[in-house]
Assembly symmetry: C2
Homo-oligomer: 236 residues x 2
């Protein structure tokens, strides 16, 4: 029995896989999914085309994995930032929206690719999954708000989906045009937009600009924006 898979070979296999995936992520970050060709990835990661196919069964699977790799930490950040910790639903939604927007404008090409670029069905289904993920995170916060008596009873899933869509759509224009003019104002507008959308319990006054003035919430959100957009894949 002259050959057997060992820890070393396994590590090498994983290293090569990470190398390829990381390069593919770089390609997408730089030029979107339109720039993602098996040839480019192979060349960029210093292997032959065939090798790519040793680690990924098809380009579609590779692209979907790139999408997931880029999307996961984003969703995690928003999840973390909106975690239940005694804040009001409004504050939590605002924090999530701000994190979402700040990270998008910080990496516009990648954000456009992930949010809006035309992609093949495999990636599109990952995108749907991601959107559902954001929707669920926001919906959970809305549920908490309803339970706590802060918000009126409403269809939280639909409203959450609309929030996600609203943020995405309002960001796509600026992201596409590379318009870096006054990102802060854009983010502020969108955070306020999300706050306005929340169906207030009748009788309670509308809450305006709560989280903008304070420094506590801002610190959290700035931290979020500064996190890397994906884990360093080179580290195995």
């Amino acid at each position: 029995m002259p050959y057997r898979a060992t820890d070393q070979t396994e590590a090498r296999r994983l290293a090569a896989r990470h190398q390829i995936l990381g390069c593919a992520l770089d390609v997408v970050s730089a030029g979107g999914y339109g720039a993602l060709s098996v040839n480019a990835v192979a060349e960029g990661s210093g292997v032959a085309v065939g090798t790519v196919y040793r680690h990924f069964p098809s380009k579609a699977v590779l692209a979907a994995e790139v999408f997931r790799t880029a999307a996961e930490p984003e969703l995690e950040v928003v999840t973390a930032v909106t975690a239940a910790d005694g804040r009001s639903a409004g504050q939590r939604i605002a924090a999530g929206a701000e994190a979402f927007c700040r990270r998008a404008v910080a990496a516009p090409v990648l954000a456009y690719a992930q949010l809006a670029e035309p992609v093949d069905p495999a990636v599109e289904s990952e995108r749907l999954r991601l959107r559902r993920g954001y929707r669920d995170v926001f919906a959970a916060v809305l549920e908490d708000g309803v339970e706590a008596g802060e918000l009126a009873l409403h269809d939280t899933a639909t409203v959450a989906a609309a929030l996600v869509g609203g943020l995405g759509e309002a960001l796509v224009g600026p992201l596409a045009s590379g318009g870096d003019h006054n990102r802060d104002a854009l983010v502020a507008t969108l955070v306020q937009f999300c706050l306005n959308c929340l169906p207030q319990k009748p009788g309670s006054g509308a809450h305006a600009l709560e989280p903008r003035a304070g420094s506590g919430a801002r610190a959290i959100d700035d931290r979020a924006a500064l996190l890397p957009h994906h884990r360093p894949l080179a580290t195995i």
Copy 2:
């Protein structure tokens, strides 16, 4: 000079063009842009592939024109329904949102194709144009609301874009799953969502459910939903 283009030949040319375009629209309405192939269109309209190319320089141009043909009347309806006529900005936005949603759920496959299906760049750019169109219509209403002192000063273009994106995103899930369960509730939720989003002038109470109870606005919107989704192309 034995041949000259005449009214009759011109009419025939236009008839063939309409025939092809109409068939392409039917194909998209039934199966989305993924089902749109030059072969299918040629077969469906009873001409040869080459003939399609006599009337449209490329498939991309044909697809873009299909998109425009389907999109134009939609935008017109929303424009008409939101026209300035003494109503409050809130009422106008609600009417526009309701018309948009009702027409989308009335033709789900086409709506999904127009709003969310992955498409080639030529169609995508038409889609961007359409979204800008909706955004501008809503933004104009918001401007009016600000001028009239009904709404607080805000970035109307961004908020309008977010409204459009919110409606689209919240509709895509239901449209894709063909879930016809309780369309009215969905529409009502989204109309209320749009109303909530409007930045109230400080001091004025939040306006809830204004347009849902009355009968006047409803009549307008039902009319809108019943309009054909595109002009009968067979009629020349």
